[in-house]
Symmetry: C2
Subunit: 170 residues, 2 copies
């Protein structure tokens, strides 16, 4: 394509935009996840929250939002729904009356074990149309890009390591 003095407005201004592709791919990913996991009545977000609570028992909501990079406000209702389904429970923290500690219930631990094969099928299906080498290449580039753009997101990811010094000190 020759360089153009001013951009002509075509529908390709949408189709070729990275942001549009990211949106489409996210919607496809959610669609596949829900299809594979429809027996479990669990959304991708709820699944991620359960995993994070499983690996960080007693975490509070704000730190949970940093660990999985989800919005703090949104997470409130996610937690509510998980609690309503009896997959998690909230206990007041004795040393800080503001926070509530999150724990998996027996039900929560059980459904997590059961849903994982379905989630893995879903994740595999998302990339299935690509050749194995291309899958690796795409995931590698995407991991890099997400990591390098971390601070550009509203809720930057703060991995476990970054939380060690915050609340677990005792």
């Amino acid at each position: 394509m020759p360089s153009k003095p001013s951009t002509p407005i075509t529908i390709d201004a949408v189709y070729d935009a990275p942001g549009y592709l990211f949106r489409r791919m996210q919607q496809i990913a959610v669609s596949i996840f829900m299809e594979e996991c429809k027996a479990f009545d669990l959304t991708p977000v709820q699944y991620a929250a359960l995993i994070a609570i499983h690996t960080h028992p007693g975490i509070d909501a704000t730190r949970l939002s940093a660990v999985i990079a989800f919005d703090r406000s949104t997470l409130g209702s996610v937690i509510e729904r998980l609690q309503a389904k009896d997959y998690i429970e909230r206990k007041p923290a004795p040393e800080d009356k503001r926070i509530k500690l999150l724990y998996l219930t027996k039900s929560g631990a059980a459904i997590l074990r059961e849903i994982i094969p379905a989630v893995e099928r879903a994740q595999a299906r998302m990339l299935e149309p690509l050749k194995p080498a291309d899958r690796k290449a795409l995931m590698g580039l995407l991991e890099q890009l997400v990591d390098l753009n971390n601070e550009a997101s509203r809720v930057p990811l703060r991995a476990e390591d970054a939380l060690e010094h915050l609340g677990k000190g005792g």
Copy 2:
């Protein structure tokens, strides 16, 4: 990685999942878009709808949803907001009382011209952390994947070509 008899539940079950990376990247993309375009009070979805209406004057809502692959229900409120901002207008179709034809207003055409540089800055910023060759590689793979997964999404993309025979025949 050696093959494991059963999957240990770690936080990497979230971080390494393609679906999680797609979600994060989408959120980062929206965040960058809104930052670059904050002077225009236009969301990514509203921008895409305006472009599509510009390139398909007189399109109806259902076909618009196919052209940009957005959910038909969601699009209803998007159109309402664009109309409230006086960027588009809806006219009843004389030959079919069910549908309403969508057109850009002068305001809509104007803001589209004005916002495009900001959108292009946003799109460039999303990929900026990668080397130019990697940007091309990532976009190429993602285009392939979205295209090959088209039917897996709730609202498959039906490009302009596929619409020619539907409503434009006169």
